[in-house]
């Protein structure tokens, strides 16, 4: 199933080549296509090329990129204008297709792209049970703490968040199941296809797909009365305002943010204020020194470490 979804967005010529290869799709992290350059697959941090003939690697053509963009956008690039502006499109299964080329600028801002020359497919991984180890530290007396998951890109933030959502929604031995509202601005958490989540997010989860985070959180509070709200990659001032509003409404927040460390996060004004005000009660820091999904530490609202480094199989 995972294999089919990945293959379906690749150019036909590449698909034909891959059919001859024995490939571990579960270990695949990225697929990189650059016009005029060899096609690269990244598996467990290693680059793999695909042979076309006589040991020569397959070279990506302009037509390949064009064909792939047609597949990724369902032949409807106009439907993904907003995503294109941000530089990526999320496809079925929650995989993120990043694009690079010549930017079209309007009013000093990126409006779209033309002459797209590079495409990077980042695989979304769903690992059920990946949050098992964090639950003892982010719950107390059957309640979940306001939690922020922090890591650099590609360290498994979204994978961990997804499993936390699933377990909070279904319930586990640390807490009973409760309604969770998910604002999935980039369709990465649920990997929604035609409004239905393709990943397991639990039986009590309501998902707002492709909705701006700040607006979505407020809409969810008003419409679905969630006890827990989950959002991915917060960072804008309006996100923080909406988070504060949600916390004042009595909702528990689980969010993720980009950052190498808590010290780096503190340097960002919006997070610094939140940390000083102790809005979040738990911080989970992820790294990928040995492998993606390594827990650097879990900290309380005073930045005191609750758990030392250990490897969590997230990606």
């Amino acid at each position: 199933m995972q294999e089919e979804k990945i293959l379906s967005i690749l150019p036909r010529a590449v698909r034909m080549l891959l059919k001859k290869e024995v490939f571990q799709y579960e270990e695949l992290q990225e697929i990189r296509l650059r016009t005029g350059q060899p096609l690269l697959f990244i598996c467990r941090g290693e680059e793999i090329t695909v042979e076309k003939s006589r040991g020569r690697p397959y070279t990506v053509t302009k037509e390949d990129i064009k064909e792939m963009l047609g597949y990724v956008s369902n032949y409807s690039l106009y439907a993904y204008e907003e995503e294109m502006r941000q530089g990526f499109i999320t496809v079925e299964g929650g995989h993120r297709v990043g694009i690079a080329g010549q930017a079209i600028i309007e009013g000093g801002q990126v409006k779209n792209f033309k002459h797209i020359s590079s495409v990077n497919v980042r695989m979304a991984h769903e690992i059920l049970g990946s949050a098992d180890q964090v639950f003892p530290h982010i719950t107390y007396n059957g309640q979940i703490f306001h939690t922020l998951i922090v890591s650099p890109p590609g360290c498994g933030k979204t994978t961990l968040l997804r499993d936390v959502i699933r377990q909070v929604s279904n319930g586990n031995r640390y807490l009973k199941g409760r309604p969770v509202g998910v604002v999935d601005e980039r369709s990465e958490i649920g990997g929604c296809y035609q409004g239905v989540a393709q990943n397991h997010l639990g039986m009590r989860t309501d998902i707002l797909d492709c909705c701006p985070k700040a607006e979505g959180m407020i809409m969810l509070i008003r419409s679905m009365s969630p006890e827990v709200i989950a959002v991915d990659e917060i960072g804008a001032a309006e996100d923080i305002r909406a988070i504060e509003y949600a916390m004042h409404c009595g909702c528990k927040l689980i969010a993720t943010a980009h950052g190498q460390s808590l010290e780096e996060l503190k340097k960002k004004p919006v997070f610094d204020r939140m940390m000083q005000e102790k809005r979040f009660e738990r911080y989970i820091l992820l790294q990928n020194r040995r492998r993606a999904g390594e827990i650097e530490g879990i900290y309380d609202e005073n930045m005191a470490a609750l758990k030392d480094r250990q490897v969590l199989e997230v990606c």
């Binding site: 379906s8 047609g70 597949y71 032949y75 409807s76 106009y78 439907a79």
Partner: protein, 171 residues
């Protein structure tokens, strides 16, 4: 015997004339249906930015034949991702499903050509492309409508008169 033959001839030619008149009316009806479909496609793009595959599937599900088959088949073909560009999928769909449905030949050609301007770029351009197509379609429809009354009458009269002429010649 001669009278019976004449009646048969007149009936046959009258029916032929009426058939031609009905064909002309059907041409107009099909163009009107096509216009409604394009209005629905336009509003899906304008208000929901829905991708084409989804639009074809949802509108096709409610449309009458042969438009139902045309739209649903196109959506399936897009899902198959066989390497064809959208314009090729569109043109193939138009030619295989809509030829012989009652639409005039030049309308089929124009419709097949329409796909090459569709699918890419921004939503505004998509809407403008549809508006342009709808304007052309409306123009063709109004021209047809002008001729419809007189031509239908002409076909019917020719059918009856032609039959009578043959009957007189036979007698």
């Amino acid at each position: 015997m001669k009278i019976a033959g004449s009646v048969l001839v007149i009936t046959a030619t009258t029916l032929l004339g009426m058939g031609k008149a009905a064909e002309l009316k059907n041409r107009y009806v099909q163009m009107e249906y096509l216009r409604q479909l394009f209005c629905q496609i336009q509003s899906e793009i304008r208000y929901a930015r829905t991708p084409l595959g989804e639009i074809f599937l949802s509108i096709g599900g409610q449309a009458g034949e042969p438009y139902r088959t045309w739209l649903i088949e196109m959506s399936r073909e897009m899902e198959r991702k066989t390497g064809d560009t959208f314009s090729v999928i569109w043109a193939k769909g138009v030619k295989s499903c809509l030829t012989g449905c009652g639409l005039p030949g030049e309308e089929i050609l124009r419709l097949a050509e329409f796909g090459s301007h569709f699918g890419s770029a921004d939503a505004q351009l998509q809407i403008k492309t549809i508006e342009h197509y709808l304007a052309q379609l409306s123009l063709s429809m109004s021209e047809l409508n002008k001729e419809l009354g007189t031509k239908a009458k002409l076909y019917r009269c020719l059918g009856i008169m032609g039959g009578m002429l043959i009957a007189v010649m036979l007698l």
